[in-house]
Amino acid sequence: MKLKEKITSMIILTTILWAIITVCGWKGQYILGMILGVLLMLVYMSIGAANQGVLNKKFFTYPLMVWAILWVLSFILSDYHGKLFTGTMPSFTILGFHPSFAWTVITYWIGGVLTLTLGFVLYKDLWLSDEDWNNFIKKIGQIDGKKEVS
């Protein structure tokens, strides 16, 4: 995925998202704000993970997109079950938790951590390979060498 020419647009998008999320908070539209928050984080991670302006599709799919879907589902399901049992003891639990909070534990917390950490470890070369790093160090050395000569 070539992002090089799109980074300015993506940064403008993140800025607009910050503004909309803040307004969502003012207006009490917290679920929309949280979902847009996931999009905001996804855009930042996509730019950060890109190498020479190119984001690897595999890395974007897993862990990034899988994580984003998990979190969006988490907030929607939390809200759904929160509203379903407003003012009453829930008629069932998930792993002993209030069904609304269970999604915070299962998808936001455990699912989020496992997806991002394991995906990051598993596909670390798609984020920064030995070759990328060694080339970077070599080029820095060459630039420094040229400066010393001149």
């Binding site: 980074i7 003891m89 002993g96 951590v113 990051f120 970077f136």
Partner: protein, 504 residues
Amino acid sequence: MDGKTKMLITLFSFGMLVISFIIGWWAKKKATTAQAYFGSTGLFGPFVVGFSSMAAVASAFALVGVPGIIYSTGNAMTFWMLSSGAFPMAYIILGKKIRAMAEVGPVASLGDISDLRFNNNRGIKVLMSIIIFIGCIAYLASQIKAGSELFGHLLGLNPILAGFLIFGVLTIYTAISGEVGGALTQAFQGFVMVVAGFIMIIAFFKVTGGFKSVLEVVSTAGTVTSGEIVKEFSSGFLDAWGIMPGSVAMTWMLIPILGTVGQPQVLTRMYALKDPRDMPKMGLYASLSHMVVGFMAVVVAYGALFLVGRGLIPPLSNPDTAIFAFADYLGLYAQLFVYAAILAAAMSSASMFLSLSAGIISRDLPSALGFEVEPEKQIRNSKITIFILGILSIIFSLTSDSMVAILGTFGWGTLMSATFPVFVIGLLWDRASSQGVLSGLIVSLILNVISLLLERTGFKWPGGMPWYVNVITASILVTVIVSLFTKGATEDDLDEKVKMVIDL
């Protein structure tokens, strides 16, 4: 609590203090260059850096204040404490770029990275240093106050004496070993917090029988009273949002997650890692250890709710005592680890913020103002500054309650509003201009101060949202909009090596 228990808690906690001092003393031999002393740049592996990052992020507030908030208002705050995924996210966004900056030039502090990125722009460095300094001092004062009052009360000592005993030792080892000792002692303290976390989590399940029992108790207990103290329970307490407005839950999800990438204690640790290819492993260690500590904060709050709802202990007059009430009910083994964990959390954050503040005063600000100082002299100046700042902070924290409360307004959000324009936008976007970032920082400083004044008047922001969300958004908006129309430190004015970092 009987005298024998107090003595054992004291011995256990001070044992941790002595080990921290020994580690700091040992580490001083490695703190020989400015890069090592101020930043432990490129010195450690993923385990040490991961644990030290977690420990510096999890402050005394996380173990004392957070359970208190959950006890009072339900689950909204769990979004903050269960934000363990923030570490790998921060490293994915910025890890390789921050670490790569340490190859572009000598990097010992965040100010050095700002210099490299924005061509030694003095305005950016001064403003960023001032805002970070305010945030650091606020954190430092609250850690000292929490730790000193806790142990002063426990031992029947004057809090100032307890403060000098605990944080005096911390000041000495931080001064002699700088960030080398800082990283190693924080990793050790993080380990203590994780051990305490496991013990408290197991104890929670043994005492309550699990989350279902807590949910039943909280949903059905109704109102529990003891004298004038009343505790209202309801089923809404334990749904995802608790009894706070949904916008607060939204903030407590967004700000800790994205704020982690903007915290100096996380940013500085990115360049402390020896090999940047170990960043994913570092994310694993930091987030797994944070999971244990974060879950501990949640279960002790649940434990206190269970005990009060069941009538096993009276309602708490001060919600911040939730962790102690639960530990006291469990007995000596829990008390030993809870007090040690709180001390570890206070010390790890305090040492980080003490060395950061001293680095700003003795190194970053003078250089931003045009005073060039030799590296050896920088280290000597910093050691003196750490001693002076350490002593002043102890006295100030424990004698000026109102000022500590005022400063307490600053913290996580303040630090984020200063670092986001410089590092996140600056290192992700080659069009982020020096004028844009400078404008963003000016807005951040002014709005932080105005928000402080408004908070003192009881002003309520729309939606009940914490003030810092508005400040962060404003500083980002201004940074990006001004950058679109200005060109300082971009295009031809952007250093070739820095451009390579942004592209990496």
